[in-house]
Each structure stands twice: as structure tokens, then as C-alpha cells.
């Protein structure tokens, strides 16, 4: 398994536009308009803010179902996930399962490690 870098940090917010405005006003960060948007199947909308070679992903729940909504209900706003770029997500999942790590099936280049296998940290593996 080859880990390349921290791909992005996911941040759950209550109001996406307000959060983007805050980070722009305070830190001068600009949204990458070519990515993100409404994802009804996931019950979220998101936006990516590049910071050098990684991104901040701001995520707003748009339904009351799913892990993002659950996080927002239980903890409000805050850091939700750590996304780690790997060379080959299928190989990474196979490797981790061989170590006894619980990890979901890859889908669209992304797989999630069970929080039971990461001491509670929400870890995403992503292949770009």
C-alpha cells in the first residue's frame, strides 16, 4: 500500500456559503469552482478550497440522514474526516483487509476505513 499524501480535510458546517465566506474573509482562501456542489444521494453539498497541495472540503448536510448529518446533529460543526491519497485504492483496501482492518468496498475511487479500526477517526482513502 502506497500512501501519497494528505488529500484533504473534511469540515462539516451548518451553512456552506457562510463558512466559505468566513474562510475567504479571514484567511483569503478561494473556492475551486470546478469541483463540489449538490450530492443528493449523499445528502450533502460541498465545496473545495485548495491550500497548496491539499484541500479543505467544506460539507453541509442537506438531509437529516447519513454520517454527515449525524456528525452535525451530535457535534455541530468541525473536522469530520481525513482523506489520504493512495496510488491504488483497490490494492489499499485489499492490503488493509489482510491486516484485519475493517474497510468498505471502494466506490468511485474512494473507500472508508471503519472508525472501529481507526480509534474513531473518520479515514477516507482516495485514488486521484
Amino acid at each position: 500500500m502506497k500512501v501519497r499524501k494528505i488529500d484533504h480535510v473534511g469540515i462539516v458546517v451548518k451553512d456552506l456559503d457562510a463558512a466559505l465566506a468566513t474562510y475567504s474573509r479571514h484567511f483569503g482562501f478561494a473556492v475551486d469552482g470546478s469541483r463540489g456542489g449538490e450530492l443528493p444521494a449523499l445528502g450533502i453539498k460541498n465545496a473545495f478550497v485548495p491550500v497548496a497541495d491539499s484541500d479543505l472540503e467544506f460539507i453541509q448536510p442537506t438531509s437529516d440522514q447519513g454520517p454527515v448529518a449525524k456528525f452535525a446533529q451530535e457535534r455541530g460543526e468541525g473536522q469530520f474526516l481525513l482523506s489520504i491519497a493512495v496510488d491504488d485504492v483497490n490494492a489499499a483496501v485489499e492490503h488493509l483487509r489482510g491486516l484485519g482492518v475493517r474497510v468498505g468496498d471502494p466506490s468511485n475511487g474512494v473507500a472508508f476505513v471503519s472508525m472501529k479500526s481507526s480509534h474513531g477517526v473518520n479515514l477516507q482513502l482516495i485514488q486521484r
Binding site: 480535510v9 479571514h26 473536522q79 469530520f80 481525513l82
Partner: protein, 140 residues
């Protein structure tokens, strides 16, 4: 106007047993723990790995409670800036509640915590080479 943030410098994984969490991440993800340290005066235990330009910092108490299951969460991140005093002054002009820049554990570095206005994310700024490394409070 930007505060001159150049990159995410480090991301904190806060754990009640940082050694165990660092070991788990290291073994599962194949990342190397480059540095282990205890923070003087706080009893904190920290371990560090580096993934390209970003440091993953595992932070926790010096003495984990016996029998307690390791539990971790993302504990914020730190942005590197070129001039921390200017960045702090700029943020204050914008009404952001930010602490004074003070010596960090990293040799020669200064750090300032942002106390609000981050949408729930513990956030700080760091500048390396902000002062002579001899002022390093950790003596590392």
C-alpha cells in the same frame, strides 16, 4: 487580502493514547513515525509522521489511563504563514479572536491559536524561522 498561508503545516489527531494511535496508523497505513516527544511541563506525549509537506501529529496525555480503550478524533490543523505577527495583526483587524504569537515546540518557530471564527475547527498559525532556534522552549 491573504494572511500569507503557504500550506497546511500539520494536522492533529488527538487521542487518549497517542502512542497507540500513532502505532495503529503507522502499521495500517505504512507511514513512518519520524519523531516522538513529550512536551515539557504538560505531560503530553506526541508522535509525528510526515506525508509530503503535511505533518500528522498524534497528541495525547503522557500517561494513558490503564485499561481505557484508545479513542481518537481529529483535533484541528495548523497553517504555515510567512510572517506570523503580520498575520495575527491582519486577523485582528478583521475581528478574529486570535492569541499572541508565542514560541512553539518546534525549534525557532512561533505559533498563534485562533480562538473563534473557524466553524468548529481548532486552528492555529505557525511560522518557522521566526526567531533564533536557541529560544526553543522544548530544548529539542
Amino acid at each position: 487580502m491573504s494572511i500569507g498561508a503557504t500550506h497546511i503545516d500539520h494536522i492533529v489527531v488527538a487521542s487518549n493514547n497517542s502512542a497507540a494511535t500513532a502505532k495503529l496508523f503507522s502499521e495500517n497505513l505504512g507511514i513512518e513515525i519520524k519523531r516522538v516527544m513529550s512536551r515539557p511541563g504538560t505531560g503530553a506525549h506526541m508522535e509525528f509522521a510526515k506525508l509530503q509537506e503535511i505533518v500528522l501529529e498524534f497528541a495525547g496525555p503522557g500517561q494513558p489511563k490503564e485499561g481505557e480503550e484508545p479513542k481518537a478524533r481529529l483535533g484541528g490543523f495548523v497553517l504555515a504563514v510567512g510572517d506570523i505577527d503580520a498575520a495575527v495583526a491582519t486577523l485582528r483587524k478583521r475581528g478574529v479572536d486570535v492569541g499572541d504569537a508565542h514560541p512553539a515546540v518546534q525549534p525557532g518557530a512561533k505559533i498563534a491559536g485562533i480562538r473563534a471564527g473557524t466553524h468548529g475547527v481548532p486552528l492555529a498559525l505557525i511560522q518557522y524561522n521566526a526567531m533564533p532556534a536557541g529560544n526553543d522552549p522544548a530544548g529539542s
